[in-house]
């Protein structure tokens, strides 16, 4: 699980927690397609309206939906995915809260135009949307440290914040589970939206992986 603290200085802090399966599935997606860029959406539980001048209730990031691999910059399927996943979210009282991407090149972890565009779109519905970039160069089987960079939108720019194990609740569990799944090559069973479009029977909610995560808890 990880926590994102936003705007601490202004006293309006909102924390975004992530369930283990969100972090796992993100890394499994990157591991499944090492030669491609991959991206996906992060999904949070919908919270009631925040009171003004008080700390916002923490936002729980419950899941992630892997989207595409390879060419990320084409619009039509992205639109279909966003609309479909949005509908699914509404049925489950979730909201799309963020976007993740792992670039094609190992040493490149900066958000590109695609990332910023999608995040901007998500921000229309969820003002604290974040971009999570995977640092490919630190992706290992053991996952000893969190390998994501989190970018928030400040003053029209996307700025990264420090991420360390303190920002994670129960990091050790998440690390243990992710490592076990990578070793067991569970990524071979990970379904992204591209796989779903190739064969509609492929389920992008990944019930098989979700069960594996639960079994390992």
């Amino acid at each position: 699980m990880f926590l994102l603290y936003m705007n601490l200085l202004e006293g309006v802090a909102s924390a975004v927690y992530s369930r283990k399966k969100a972090y796992c599935k993100m890394l499994l997606h990157a591991a499944k397609y090492p030669h491609c860029a991959v991206n996906g959406l992060l999904v949070a539980e919908k919270v009631k309206e925040k009171k003004k001048d008080s700390h916002s209730a923490p936002i729980l990031c419950v899941d992630c939906v892997p989207l595409f691999h390879g060419t990320l910059a084409l619009a039509p399927m992205l639109e279909v995915a966003l609309t479909l996943i949005d509908t699914w979210c509404k049925e489950n009282r979730y909201v799309i809260a963020g976007y993740y991407q792992a670039n094609e090149r190992t040493k490149d972890f900066r958000p590109n135009q695609v990332a910023e565009k999608v995040a901007a779109r998500i921000s229309e519905n969820f003002s604290e949307a974040a971009i999570v970039m995977v640092d490919n160069s630190r992706l290992t089987m053991s996952c000893f440290e969190p390998i994501v960079l989190i970018y928030d939108h400040h003053e029209n720019k996307w700025k990264s914040r420090d991420v360390n194990t303190d920002c994670f609740e129960d990091w050790l569990e998440a690390q243990k589970i992710t490592s076990a799944l990578l070793e067991g090559r569970s990524y071979e069973n990970l379904i992204d939206f591209d796989n779903h479009l190739d064969d509609l029977r492929n389920d992008w909610t990944n019930p098989v992986i979700n069960k594996s995560v639960l079994d390992l808890c």
């Binding site: 910059a73 039509p76 509908t87 029977r201």
Partner: protein, 296 residues
């Protein structure tokens, strides 16, 4: 660890045939290729005959993908022994150096090939890939453009779909896909990719073009879900546009409605019997309904 033949209860012929299928389909399932290929070569190498050389090549490239330099080197050395002066093997040596990020040395290999044979596409493609790997996108585009102007080589056009991703050059991607469609008129994937690029470029004219090509892709393969969704999206956007006349609006609403029916049918077919997929079916139905509201 159990061998592949034990795990999957297959004989060496099946393993060999599987490797051939992956070669023909240009699959990049490198981990599987390494698992199957390594076992095939070490346990049944003598039975493969001349097939062994192409298998060495296939396994070597897959090994590079999996950081198995030990295996890659073994395969390479066998190929060098058998084909000492081959450009094809020299290219493989270059690829190994690329995997080790020794780009200058790799480039020397490719330059040597090109000096001997200036028309060698493979070497030129590798040089452009090196620029891409180094993040030198602008130079990579320049090289690719220069080459495309002088040679009509479909192999290079096939790298076109990567253009928009890295190079934000949708126009160039469209151009390359047009060439690919001309030489491969029955390939539904090129039609569909072209339609996606046109849609992304935006604007009414491009949307209408994209709708036509999604429809064409469907004619070539009526199970292409991307084409079906694409037809639905493009027709819906055209119908919702304030710039179109009543007839165009009506026609596109018809196309969109047809596509929606097909999409729903496809999901119902896929969802038969599984509880989880029923949620997908419902989500799609709702999505299509919500979009129709914005159209009218």
């Amino acid at each position: 660890m159990a061998s592949v033949s034990e795990l999957y209860d297959v004989g060496w012929e099946e393993m060999r045939d599987k490797l051939r299928k992956w070669r023909e389909d240009n699959c990049r399932n490198s981990e599987q290729i390494v698992d199957v290929g390594e076992e095939l070569i070490s346990e049944h190498g003598s039975k493969l005959g001349d097939d062994i050389w192409i298998i060495y090549e296939q396994v070597m490239i897959a090994a590079l993908d999996c950081s198995r330099d030990d295996l890659a080197l073994t395969c390479l050395q066998e190929l060098r022994k058998q084909f000492p002066d081959s450009h094809r093997v020299k290219r493989l040596s270059g690829m190994r150096l690329e995997a080790l990020e020794r780009y200058d040395e790799a480039n020397k290999h490719y330059d040597a090939i090109l000096q001997d044979d200036p028309t060698n596409t493979a070497a030129r493609k590798r040089k452009i890939s090196i620029l891409k790997a180094q993040g030198k996108s602008a130079e990579a585009i320049r090289e690719l453009n220069e080459y495309l102007e002088h040679e009509a080589v479909s192999v290079l056009y096939q790298s076109a779909p990567c253009f928009p991703c890295d190079f934000h050059s949708y126009g160039k991607a469209a151009f390359c896909l047009e060439e690919l469609m001309m030489t491969n008129p029955h390939n539904h994937l090129y039609c569909e990719q072209y339609a996606e690029v046109k849609y992304t470029q935006g604007g009414l004219e491009n949307l209408e073009l994209s709708r036509k090509y999604f429809a064409q892709a469907l004619r070539l393969n009526n199970r292409n879900m991307r084409a079906l969704f694409g037809l639905y999206m493009s027709a819906s956007h055209i119908a919702a546009s304030p710039k179109v006349g009543a007839k165009v609006k009506k026609d596109n609403m018809k196309y969109a409605a047809w596509a929606a029916t097909q999409i729903n049918r496809a999901y119902k077919l896929a969802g038969r019997g599984t509880k989880e997929n029923k949620c997908s079916v419902k989500a799609v139905e709702e999505m299509l309904e919500s979009m129709q509201i914005t159209m009218s």
